[in-house]
């Protein structure tokens, strides 16, 4: 009898617990506070200490309530876990209102997410609720954000038109001459000097300078190549990667006079061979060391900045403690990937599109608010200070700039992840007309014929792309880090890679890209 009761109790407990789980599943709705007035905003951060976030959040809410009449809940996500966390939020249907996204952000790529229905179509609401932000950008810029003709995200304003930037220590620049002429931007443009030529000349000078190199051995980290494949290869030769990851095969020669919409394999071009040869030369001539153990910041003299960006010298001065001069190579180009490389999108679940857009518009128009959310509070995160710098006419003039307080507790350091970087307060050695200079580059840049097109592959081609990418990434990393075989030549590296790509579905990738691009161009 007693045993029978015990069994019944066990069975009842099992049935009840299963019932509770099933009931909970049946009652399941999206989580989050979609009903209240608070906008839930996922902020992308550089990964630093954000102990002071609550203090800043309080100030942000005071400001937003006063100006817009609602509240905002900021959730900070460091870049290292951003893609995984966002991927989980989307796949689990978790409620939030808006988040950072970008064309090439792994785990949260803008075009793919938009086409999958994870982002809200804001084509009609954008001009109504964020008029300042909408009107400030040209229609060709908004074209890049369109997926099937609709806008699903707000473009964060920054430098869109991209080409290669190389910064060289001013002391080196002063004495450097190429073909008997001094190194100036005008001479680079006039004589068509490539970055290969300029870097080689600068490094040769450093190698022979006994004050820097002992017995012709260049110190570690004197030249920093970094992960600059995109810039050195794609941007330098004006290839448009058609909205896919930059290593994926299949690009167009965007500025070519003819045939500029033909999809080609960029790894089977003379330009790629040139890039391979450049990387190999850097190691073989002893400018870069294969046995580099650590990154010695203060040794830097020549730095690949990636994209040419006025004001990058300021960041280099802060990092290295030395004044640099930056030079531009190639033609600035507007492509879908370049324009949509930093965006803010509203989740498809959001019930507060109007509030989200108003908040973004406030960040766009209100410099004080932008800096509060992106940098923090004056006195806690930064202080105003003054100094002197040369203006365009070469005259020294006084200017004011902000200096971060070391050990501050709101280290976001991703001010480009908000609606406009042009609201950022001036930093040391940044030119007074920085914003005008960047806007000028954006406005005068060449526009790719495929602007607005982002290739979304079929499942089989998506797999081919990944397979090819695996092979390509190995080669690129070997070239940038100097770990390629000593028996390799530029020809053998290019030939081997192309054989592997052919075996991994290259022709299918190119054919599908071409057909989708053609369809886009017809519809356009």
């Amino acid at each position: 009898m007693k045993r029978g009761m015990r069994e019944t109790a066990v069975l009842c407990a099992a049935v009840l617990s299963s019932g509770i789980v099933l009931m909970a599943a049946a009652c399941h709705k999206q989580s989050g506070n979609q009903g209240d007035d608070t906008v839930q905003y996922i902020v992308y951060t550089g990964g630093g200490n954000i102990d002071g976030a609550n203090r800043v959040k309080e100030q942000v809410n005071k400001y937003v309530e006063e100006k817009l009449g609602f509240k905002v809940e900021l959730t900070y996500n460091p870049y290292t876990s951003y893609s995984e966390k966002l991927g989980l939020k989307f796949n689990s249907n978790e409620y939030f209102d808006m988040c950072y996204t970008a064309s090439l952000l792994t785990g949260n790529p803008y075009s793919l997410r938009a086409s999958e229905g994870f982002f809200k179509d804001i084509t009609n609401e954008l001009p109504e609720y964020a008029p300042n932000l909408y009107q400030s950008l040209d229609s060709k810029i908004w074209d890049a954000a369109k997926v099937d003709g609709k806008i699903y995200g707000v473009i964060n304003e920054q430098i869109f038109a991209r080409c290669v930037g190389v910064a060289i220590d001013k002391e080196i620049v002063k004495d450097l001459s190429i073909d008997g002429k001094p190194l100036t931007q005008a001479n680079i443009d006039e004589n068509g000097w490539t970055y290969e030529k300029v870097i080689t000349a600068a490094m040769e000078m450093i190698k022979n300078d006994p004050a820097i190199s002992q017995n012709g051995v260049v110190p570690q980290s004197t030249l920093i190549l970094g992960d600059t494949y995109d810039e050195l290869f794609l941007q330098n030769y004006s290839f448009d990667n058609l909205g896919t990851a930059t290593t994926y095969p299949g690009v167009i020669r965007a500025t070519a006079a003819t045939d500029n919409t033909k999809v080609i394999n960029q790894y089977d071009t003379p330009e790629f061979k040139q890039f391979v040869q450049f990387c190999m030369n850097m190691y073989e001539k002893g400018y870069l060391r294969k046995d580099q153990t650590v990154d010695i910041t203060e040794n830097q003299r020549v730095r690949l900045c990636g994209t040419y960006r006025p004001g990058a010298e300021s960041e280099l001065y802060i990092q290295v403690g030395r004044e640099f001069e930056q030079f531009r190579f190639g033609t600035p180009l507007l492509t879908t990937s370049n324009i949509t490389s930093s965006m803010t999108a509203i989740s498809a679940n959001s019930t507060k599109v109007d509030k989200c857009l108003k908040l973004l518009d406030l960040m766009y128009t209100d410099k004080e608010f932008y800096n509060l959310i992106a940098v923090g509070e004056e006195g806690a995160e930064y202080v105003w200070t003054s100094g002197e710098m040369e203006n365009e006419e070469g005259v020294m003039e006084e200017y004011e700039y902000i200096e971060y307080i070391p050990g501050n507790t709101y280290m976001i350091y991703a001010d480009w992840a908000f609606p406009t970087i042009f609201n950022a307060y001036r930093k040391i050695f940044q030119p007074a007309d920085l914003v005008e200079r960047i806007r000028k580059i954006n406005n005068e840049a060449a526009v790719s014929p495929a602007n607005g097109f982002a290739f979304i592959p079929s499942r089989s081609v998506s797999n081919y792309q990944r397979d090819c990418d695996r092979e390509i990434s190995i080669v690129i990393q070997q070239l940038l880090k100097g770990t390629y075989s000593s028996e390799s030549t530029a020809d053998s590296i290019v030939a081997d890679l192309n054989t592997k790509l052919q075996a991994n579905g290259l022709s299918d990738i190119l054919a599908e890209k071409q057909s989708k691009l053609d369809a886009f161009l017809v519809a356009k």
Partner: protein, 293 residues
């Protein structure tokens, strides 16, 4: 003659065994020694000679960089100690409670429950369903619960403890029952104290799991005030890069490599101490589970 040959063979075996184990121990120790040495090495020395067994240009610069923001570090240690300490106690106690009835021969459903438990060892529900369960049904995001509860009831430890409980003579429990002892009291006052070696083994392994767990905080903790040491360490490495970029702080002082190594040392040392103090229980406990399970 035969006896001498036997002794000779045994000697060769012992020499070979000791030699092999010594080499293996050195192989395991070298990475730790290199980590320690690099954390105390000077920037220029790392640049010139790379990593070495003995620190070159011995200094504490990397540690001073790590301790620059001492409050988040202390708080993270606090979170880790609460999760590891509280989690281990709760985990081991509840695991023992599950294992105990399964060790009783008269418990009718023990084989069914054991099969169900074994299924959890072979199949996992996947990341997204687990995330939905934890964040949307249980609402455990940014709580201690998410860092402690999902790890409770690991099948391996249940089987280990079940095996140990089986070894306790049933007569002890029966005589206690005759004296009016309840089942729970029998478990609490007789079986648990008798199973201390197995409980100690479980505790160490569970504590190691809690201390080294960064994945849970990575996925389920958005609030940086709830970060454990491992999560803080990951972030600190990124933070050092930010310091370099935005302040040039490390120029001429510590390199980011020595700072990374210093963070590893700080993340490893506490649990390494606990492990070394209690390691004998791991061996004895594992033997119980392996030989008689």
């Amino acid at each position: 003659m035969k006896k001498n040959r036997k002794i000779g063979r045994s000697l060769v075996f012992n020499v070979f065994n000791v030699l092999w184990m010594t080499l293996f121990a050195i192989y395991c120790l070298i990475p730790i020694v290199i980590m320690l040495s690099a954390s105390f090495s000077k920037d220029e020395a790392l640049q010139q000679y790379g990593y070495s067994i003995v620190a070159r240009g011995f200094n504490f610069q990397a540690y001073s960089v790590v301790f620059m923001n001492v409050i988040p570090l202390l708080r993270a240690y606090g979170v880790s100690f609460v999760v590891t300490g509280g989690g281990t106690l709760l985990n081991v106690f509840l695991t023992a409670m599950i294992a105990y009835p399964l060790s009783k021969p008269h418990f009718r459903y023990k084989s069914h429950i054991t099969v169900l438990l074994l299924i959890t060892m072979l199949f996992s529900p996947g990341m997204v369903p687990t995330y939905i369960l934890i964040t949307q049904y249980l609402k455990w995001k940014n709580t201690f619960a998410v860092m402690i509860i999902p790890q409770i009831g690991t099948t391996f430890y249940i089987i280990l403890l079940r095996t140990f409980f089986k070894e306790i003579p049933a007569e002890i429990g029966e005589s206690a029952k005759i004296d009016g002892c309840s089942a729970f009291r029998e478990f609490l006052t007789i079986n648990l104290p008798l199973s201390l070696p197995a409980l100690a083994t479980c505790s160490i392994l569970v504590a190691l799991g809690y201390w080294n767990d960064w994945g849970t905080a990575y996925l389920y903790v958005d609030d940086n005030r709830m970060w454990n040491v491992q999560m803080l360490m990951i972030n600190l490495v990124q933070e050092v890069e930010l310091w370099k970029k935005n302040f040039g702080l490390l120029a001429g002082t510590a390199s980011s490599d020595s700072v990374v190594m210093a963070t590893c040392v700080l993340g490893t040392l506490p649990i390494l101490g606990v492990f070394m103090a209690l390691q004998k229980y791991i061996v004895s406990g594992m033997t119980v589970g392996a030989v008689k399970g």
